[in-house]
């Protein structure tokens, strides 16, 4: 490390931050349709393409009734499986025929309609999108097909330890909190699922007046307005007031919660370590993302350097903060040969402690800033990424100068502020989930405390 610091100190003289040109997110035009749908629009005619997104607050998994994991996902999926006038086959055929990308998917807090197509196909794509949102058929046979596909899909997930780990972790960390609802569903939730629940969820949660839409691409304002008014603008606004979309405060781990999922054929062990984070609009977000960049968020981060670059224990190791309106979490994860799992965890815990005690050097902070600022322009390069940025800004109430402020804050952050920020990293209170070959790792793990154990073949992902 020291050998490189010399080089880096010289670099500081020749690469002042002020030279970092950056991009501004263009201010979109805003209009509200008669049905209350708010639309943000930016014209970009560089390529004959248009991207659009519609964010529907409250239609995500966190608003499913307790125990109905997968309901939001089933609802979103079924919207494309037939309407009063189009069969599922006709929808699929029209979309594929245009070479369009179109899907509706659920996050925790909302669901999102994603569309992208050649500009010449936009009128047709809007019509299909409107039809799916306004008059889904929710046919029994389509429901049954999708349900049984989900049930069987759970088995395939459990054959892939990396994917399964994420679901076990969610349940371990959140338990019965709404953010613990799994979009994949669980064996027991899918057993009690019904089409009636789907219909109920749809009519309670999908509505235009609280939704936010963003359109970016090769289309003029007047033409767009005309198309929208004939399509998604026809989505009727319900007379009932919208349901609340607040999520209770996130659980904070107290002490250690240790879980081992035994997968006897696994040749590697996968771990996820989680602790409390912060909400999207938290003032600490920019600094925390810089801190995380240095600790586990990029290739030369401490975590990847120690686990991969120096020791070759793994193909990849990383950490991130995930945030929602009500709060967030920190998560670090990696994987290695079964017999190396405790070496990997020891190093991870050491690195957490070092960051809290010593913080980061000026050179590291400088490097992290340059990295975030230098990479930023690419994050807003496409129509779709601009549309996403608009929705994020509006949904979380961040303001259109959010990214400017974020970049300014990143560039003015000092090393001692990052040390304070490292307090966010877990020490004693965390959730640790390991998926691996129980017989090879049980003893190795015992030094961290008592693990609750589960077989991968047991139903569900909770305890």
């Amino acid at each position: 490390m020291t050998r490189n610091l010399t080089i880096i100190s010289i670099l500081l003289l020749i690469l002042p931050l002020a030279t970092m040109a950056s991009v501004k997110l263009p201010q979109p035009e805003k209009f509200v349709l008669d049905n209350g749908l708010t639309v943000y629009f930016l014209q970009n005619s560089e390529l004959p393409l248009v991207s659009f997104r519609v964010l529907i607050p409250g239609a995500g998994s966190a608003f499913e009734p307790q125990g109905f994991d997968g309901l939001a996902n089933l609802t979103a999926t079924l919207l494309l499986r037939g309407t009063k006038t189009l069969s599922a086959e006709e929808i699929a055929e029209s979309l594929d025929f245009m070479g369009a990308r179109f899907r509706i998917s659920d996050a925790e807090e909302y669901s999102t309609v994603y569309g992208e197509c050649l500009s010449e196909h936009l009128p047709k794509l809007f019509q299909i999108a409107a039809d799916c949102l306004i008059s889904p058929a929710f046919k029994e046979d389509e429901y049954q097909k999708e349900l049984s596909r989900k049930i069987d899909g759970l088995k395939a997930i459990k054959d892939n330890p990396g994917r399964a780990l994420q679901l076990y972790f969610r349940k371990a960390y959140f338990g019965e909190h709404p953010l613990g609802q799994l979009s994949t569903g669980t064996d027991s939730s899918l057993k009690k699922m019904s089409l009636r629940e789907v219909k109920k969820f749809f009519s309670a949660r999908y509505r235009p007046d609280t939704a936010i839409m963003a359109v970016v691409g090769d289309i003029g304002r007047e033409k767009l307005l005309g198309l929208l008014n004939q399509s998604i603008g026809q989505w009727p606004k319900p007379s009932s007031p919208p349901l609340p979309v607040t999520i209770p405060p996130l659980p904070a781990p107290k002490g250690k919660k240790l879980i081992l999922v035994d997968k006897p054929d696994a040749t590697q062990s996968y771990f996820a370590l989680g602790a409390s984070g912060f909400a999207v609009d938290d003032k600490i977000a920019a600094k925390a993302s810089l801190m995380n960049t240095l600790w586990g968020g990029r290739f030369t981060s401490w975590l990847n350097t120690e686990l991969r670059i120096k020791r070759g224990l793994t193909y990849g190791a990383s950490s991130s903060f995930q945030s929602w309106k009500a709060g967030g979490i920190f998560m670090a994860s990696s994987y290695t040969r079964n017999d190396k799992i405790s070496e990997m965890l020891d190093i991870t815990f050491d690195l957490l402690q070092t960051a809290k005690e010593k913080g980061f050097s000026d050179e590291e902070v400088e490097s992290g800033k340059n990295y975030l600022l230098g990479q930023f322009p690419r994050t807003l390069e496409t129509n779709a990424s601009k549309a996403s940025a608009y929705l994020r800004i509006v949904y979380y109430g961040l303001g259109f100068d959010y990214y400017d402020k974020y970049l300014t804050e990143i560039s003015s952050t000092r090393a001692e502020e990052l040390k304070a920020c490292a307090k966010l990293l877990p020490a004693k209170d965390f959730v640790l989930v390991v998926v691996g070959k129980g017989d090879d790792i049980r003893t190795l793990l015992s030094k961290y405390g008592k693990f609750q154990e589960k077989k991968i073949t047991d139903p569900d992902f909770g305890l």
Partner: protein, 441 residues
């Protein structure tokens, strides 16, 4: 940001068609240094960022038994130190200058993909030129990186049933050609590559006359060419590597490979030998793959997932490779599905194509998908750089990119059944099954 190899079975749909106004052949500049290094420029100042892609004409097709996976291993070692910059300094310097990078190895090529702000340009040119000629392969780092690749194989193949089955299927279908093995290589080779062999391989293939540099984005072509001359001109060219001469012999009957392992869900794949990407039949098959297997309106999705409900998903298509490889059909069956029935339905659908071809609607659909995917891939500097470089390596010239629509429009729909018949027949077919053992009891 993790250096990764791209499984050649994923996402090899061809993305090419007519060019839109803002990205024209006339806007591309090409240069060549005396040592053979080819340079392709596309200038675009929309965002303050540059994509700098270096392509080497080396992939797993250039390997031999004992050295399988070595192309991909060198891709990893390219980040691990030169005479001038110690192990890990490439990444540390690049990130310090605001850049990030990745790299991938396929059957046919190795690509290094850098994205950075304009003021980092000279440093990046220096770093890229440096690692083209003076990697040190430090013995300790060599061993540690061997561990990384072993972990990558465990994750990507051994703990991924579809990838594991594909490795078996391709090794069964392809007997003689180096496409026999996967890009990652066999585990025993990974564990026993010798340093001297790796250095020899590096010297042969990482030569300026075996490389193409593509720069797209916010740069000045004149100044950049001077920088490239400054840092690359002294790199000596090497004797061109021997050509890959093995030709896969025709398959003479149906083959089947069965894997039994602990799992909850089976896997199923069917492959047929297919033409290389420059062959006359390639375009017709890449049109056909779309209505056959890509998207929810495709024939196989409708039959297997929707109507018979034997599968959770299907995907596949033709491999875009320098030498003839495979047309690939992968099915994720329902846990209790009858695999024989799945095979029968695939046969029926392929026979239907052979006898009746595809409809005009399906033909138009394929062309629309190609056009839409293509524009979508050109939204970014990196997408443009990747298209220019892969076309240069796979098709012999980046110019291929600008004539592709014409090539597609010349494919006659009526010719598709005849072309399909040449490839989709029982003698040319290999079937792979992964059958779960235990685990559920």
């Amino acid at each position: 940001m993790i250096k990764k190899f791209v499984l050649p079975m994923i996402g090899l749909f061809l993305m090419s068609t007519v060019m839109q106004a803002s990205f024209k052949k006339e806007d591309i500049q090409v240069h060549q240094l005396d040592n053979g290094l080819k340079i392709i420029f596309y200038e675009d100042h929309t965002i303050p960022s540059i994509s700098y892609y270096t392509f080497f004409r080396v992939g797993s097709r250039n390997e031999r038994p004992g050295l399988t996976g070595i192309s991909h291993f060198i891709e990893h070692m390219m980040f691990n130190g030169t005479q001038k910059f110690g192990p890990g300094e490439f990444d540390r310097l690049m990130e310090f200058y605001g850049g990030s990078n990745n790299a991938y190895t396929s059957d046919d090529l190795t690509a290094y993909t850098d994205w950075f702000p304009p003021q980092a340009l000279e440093k990046m040119v220096e770093l890229e030129a440096d690692r083209m000629q003076s990697l040190i392969f430090d013995p300790e780092v060599f061993e540690s990186e061997r561990g990384v690749v072993a972990s990558e194989r465990r994750m990507g193949v051994e703990n991924n049933n579809e990838a594991l089955l594909y490795e078996n299927v391709r090794a069964t279908a392809i007997m003689a050609h180096p496409y026999h093995w996967d890009v990652i290589g066999w585990m025993s080779d990974i564990l026993s590559w010798r340093r001297e062999e790796v250095i020899q391989y590096y010297r042969t293939y990482y030569a300026p006359n075996n490389a193409v540099v593509v720069v797209a984005g916010d740069f000045d072509p004149g100044k950049t060419l001077e920088l490239i001359k400054k840092y690359y001109s002294d790199i000596p060219s090497q004797t061109p590597p021997s050509p890959v001469s093995t030709i896969e012999p025709p398959q003479m009957g149906r083959k089947e490979v069965v894997i039994k392992k602990q799992a909850q869900s089976p896997s199923f794949q069917v492959v047929y030998h297919a033409p290389n990407c420059r062959a006359a039949d390639f375009l017709a098959l890449s049109i056909l793959e779309k209505p056959l297997i890509q998207g929810e309106s495709s024939r196989l999705y409708r039959r297997l997932v929707r109507q018979e409900q034997l599968a959770i998903s299907v995907f596949g298509g033709i491999s875009e490779t320098i030498d003839p490889q495979l047309f690939f059909i992968s099915v994720q069956p329902r846990p209790e599905a009858d695999l024989t029935k799945i095979e029968k339905i695939i046969d029926e659908e392929l026979n239907r194509v052979v006898e009746q071809g595809i409809t005009d609607q399906e033909y138009q659909k394929a062309l629309n998908i190609i056009r839409s995917n293509f524009y979508s891939s050109l939204q970014t500097n990196s997408g443009k750089a990747n298209q220019l470089g892969s076309n240069e390596l796979l098709y012999g010239s980046y110019e291929n990119l600008f004539t592709m629509v014409e090539q597609y429009s010349q494919v006659k729909r009526e010719d598709i059944p005849g072309i399909a018949k040449k490839y989709f027949n029982e003698l040319n077919k290999t079937v792979g099954k992964l059958i779960p053992q235990g685990g559920n009891q």
